[in-house]
């Protein structure tokens, strides 16, 4: 294996830059973050920006030379479980966090030396309270602070220079299953964070904390009374009969039976985005609890919903529910990508969202109006289409577990609960105007059963088995999508689910990782043209990122199999009637990869 020599690394310069970063302490956090984001050499937020584009203007590495990339350096996190998210790069320092126990490292990019490390003390009892592996999707940065969202729900601000704790606040009660896996996001002077625990009956909420003090500014629940959801019955709008209308009084309470909303889920563990001009925060809510739909008939508002909220007050400007009365666990938490594109030929400030339910939605992000909703995986069969007037999916009874009763096994539903895409974020390339989407191509059998709620215990109520979609051996695709028309432009089949966040760059490339552990880069104009492929130490469920240091561009990614991808694979590939022995894809995946968390950083060889 060839490694890139690095004689250009000069420690002295690193110190100089660190001092520069440390100096303007008094400046407002948002100005500092804006400055960091404006410099394309940094990767200052999880998506590289506030719009969730995952696009970099860097082009030293491009379609002509990406094939020559080599490993520049590697770093082991020392943790075995699933590694989602990515590091941040600000100036001469890289910041990264591991899965539980959430070790934080600051690395000097000149020397790859550990500048500081921080490991929180967390009760091991939180591990079994995490539904789908002990993942952590990364850190946030602003105002010379690093923000860590611990598994046990504690949100911490660390001094970016020293790793010392500046403030810390408890965001939920892990004893009740309210834990965290999401990355915190900083918009303006607020740290936004969500909550997990939809499988524990946690009532979901999103919270804004003051970036400087950690004081709670507002909290908005996904379900319940209007006041607790920060809904104005007259001013919060939703798509109704082909136009935006006020949601009206008690829009959530009316859609549940009794008090089920109190343990009704709608958690908020995805990626968040922000439109500065509109001052609106965008995110989605997850599945209603339990997974047995028969126990919660009704639309279960506002689970499975895209929210647009005023960043300063938290008040909801609009809401759009994608999957009323969920019967499949199609969480609506996937990222909202804010892109200015032509929709049906008209320039539009759009919000583009690839939902777990298999539909790619394009909405007007100012008003919340529904513009496009089309399947982004042809395997999707639980609904024929989305009715553009009501915004509701037209559900196929055969694939609707709630219609068919408890203890009935509903076979061959596509997609599986994993969704046609899960948290693995897509990328928007403003050059091609296309969206590059890592997807799953997996179906399921779903059998709901009666379950009683016990505080702090799993509250699932369905047995699932998952398997590859019919007609082929592929369990995932990497697709290029036109959100203006709702069409798949190109689709590149992968053996397993593509569970890695995509990156596009001005160099005309799109990069993503695979569960076998390959980092791949393809031509943005023809994604079937594979330009680069490298086998990292473990399966990739992390997100590809890029930065420039001392005139050299780097592309990096975490490897470390786990998360629901690993679990889902495993759960999926044994057919119950085949008895005891695990067969098929899971064992196949085990033939390719093993546990273990590392970061691999690539660059072009020295000329």
């Amino acid at each position: 294996m060839k490694f890139v020599n690095a004689p250009w690394l000069r420690p002295a310069l690193a110190i100089a830059t660190v001092c520069l970063l440390a100096a303007p302490v008094a400046s407002r956090a948002d100005a500092d973050l804006d400055k960091a984001l404006a410099n394309p050499n940094n990767w200052a937020m999880q998506a590289g920006d506030m719009q969730n584009h995952r696009y970099s203007p860097l082009k030293q590495i491009n379609k002509g030379n990406v094939g020559k990339m080599q490993v520049a350096w590697m770093f082991s996190t020392g943790v075995l479980r699933g590694h989602e998210g990515s590091p941040l790069v600000i100036g001469d320092t890289m910041y990264l966090v591991s899965p539980f126990p959430n070790k934080v490292f600051a690395l000097d990019l000149d020397t790859q030396k550990i500048k500081w490390r921080y490991e929180p003390k967390q009760d091991a009892a939180v591990i079994p309270q995490m539904c789908c592996d002990t993942v952590n999707r990364g850190l946030a940065y602003a105002g010379n602070k690093i923000f860590l969202q611990q598994a046990d729900s504690t949100l911490v601000a660390l001094d970016a220079n020293s790793g010392k704790v500046i403030w810390s606040v408890k965001n939920g009660d892990p004893k009740l299953g309210a834990v965290n896996t999401n990355a915190p996001h900083v918009f303006k002077d607020k740290v936004i964070t969500g909550i997990s625990g939809g499988e524990w009956g946690v009532r979901g909420y999103i919270t804004a904390y003051d970036v400087n003090t950690g004081k709670q500014v507002w909290r908005a629940y996904s379900t319940g009374p209007d006041a607790e959801m920060l809904f104005d019955p007259d001013k919060t709008m939703t798509w109704t009969d082909g136009e935006m209308k006020p949601v009206g009084k008690d829009s959530s309470l009316k859609s549940w039976q009794g008090d089920q909303w109190k343990i009704g889920g709608g958690t908020t563990w995805g990626w968040y985005s922000y439109d500065k001009d509109l001052n609106l925060l965008y995110y989605g809510s997850g599945n209603p609890s339990t997974w047995n739909p028969i126990q919660r008939k009704g639309d279960n508002k506002w689970s499975m919903t895209i929210f647009a909220r005023d960043l300063d007050t938290g008040m909801a400007k609009w809401a759009f529910q994608m999957t009323p009365w969920d019967q499949w666990d199609y969480d609506g938490v996937n990222e909202m990508i804010l892109a200015d594109i032509n929709v049906n030929g008209k320039p539009t400030k759009a919000l583009v969202h690839f939902d777990r339910n298999g539909f790619g939605y394009t909405l007007d992000r100012t008003t919340g109006a529904l513009l496009v909703a089309q399947k982004y995986d042809p395997a999707v069969n639980w609904a024929t289409k989305v009715d553009m007037k009501t915004g509701r999916p037209e559900v196929v009874k055969q694939y609707a577990p709630g219609e068919n009763g408890a203890d009935v096994n509903n076979k061959g539903i596509c997609p599986a609960a994993l969704g046609s895409k899960d948290e693995q974020p897509a990328s928007f390339d403003p050059q091609t105007k296309r969206f590059y989407v890592p997807t799953n191509h997996v179906c399921m059998d779903y059998e709901p059963f009666q379950i009683e709620y016990t505080a702090g215990q799993p509250y699932v109520g369905a047995t699932l088995s998952m398997f590859p979609a019919p007609g082929g051996n592929s369990m995932g695709n990497f697709i290029a999508w036109d959100a203006g028309t709702g069409k798949i432009v190109q689709s590149k089949a992968e053996k397993f689910s593509v569970w890695s966040g995509a990156l596009t760059t001005a160099g005309g490339i799109a990069c993503y990782g695979t569960l076998e552990g390959y980092l791949k880069c393809v031509d943005s104009n023809d994604i079937n043209k594979e330009l680069f492929k490298f086998k990292t130490p473990s399966g990739i469920i992390g997100n590809v990122f890029t930065y420039e240091h001392k005139g050299k561009q780097y592309i990096g990614v975490f490897s470390g199999i786990g998360g629901w991808a690993g679990i889902g694979m495993a759960a999926g590939l044994e057919k119950p009637e085949e008895g005891l022995g695990a067969v098929g894809g899971y064992h196949e995946l085990a033939d390719y990869t093993n546990l273990g968390g590392s970061l691999t950083v690539f660059a072009l060889p020295q000329t």
Partner: protein
Amino acid sequence: MRTMISGAAACALWLVVPAAAVAQGMAPPGAAAQPSATEAAQTSGNKVTRMEGGKVLYTVVDGYNVDSNTMNGFRAWRAAACDRCHGANQQGLVGPSLIESLKTLTKDQFITTVREGRLEKGMPSWKSSKMVTQNIDNLYAYLKGRSNGDITRAHVQELKQ
């Protein structure tokens, strides 16, 4: 598929020898890799009745019709969502294969593990779950049946008397 043999057909009775090749990795620290001492199976056609400690552990017909206690064990398994870690077929995912573990765990060790958990490995303590604690013997019977290979499908149904 075999057909039911009714009445008192030819019965066989034998002792099951503890498997020699057990997966040592599945045993808890310090645990003797020795299953419960007395295990006996009585088969009548496609019906298997297995004894442990002088009592009936479970009865299973056709590999998936089980007695009501064992059925309650399956219900507890399902309600506690054990499959999220141990797999829908107990084959092991993030958590170990219970098909293998139950070959080495004694009943006491099983009960201690379920009650106290192994938090650092992600196994919760089920002390506070009524569904689990009240059905712990039944859960043991169900998983033992799976591990022994007498229950051939994870998804069982109640035996009609």
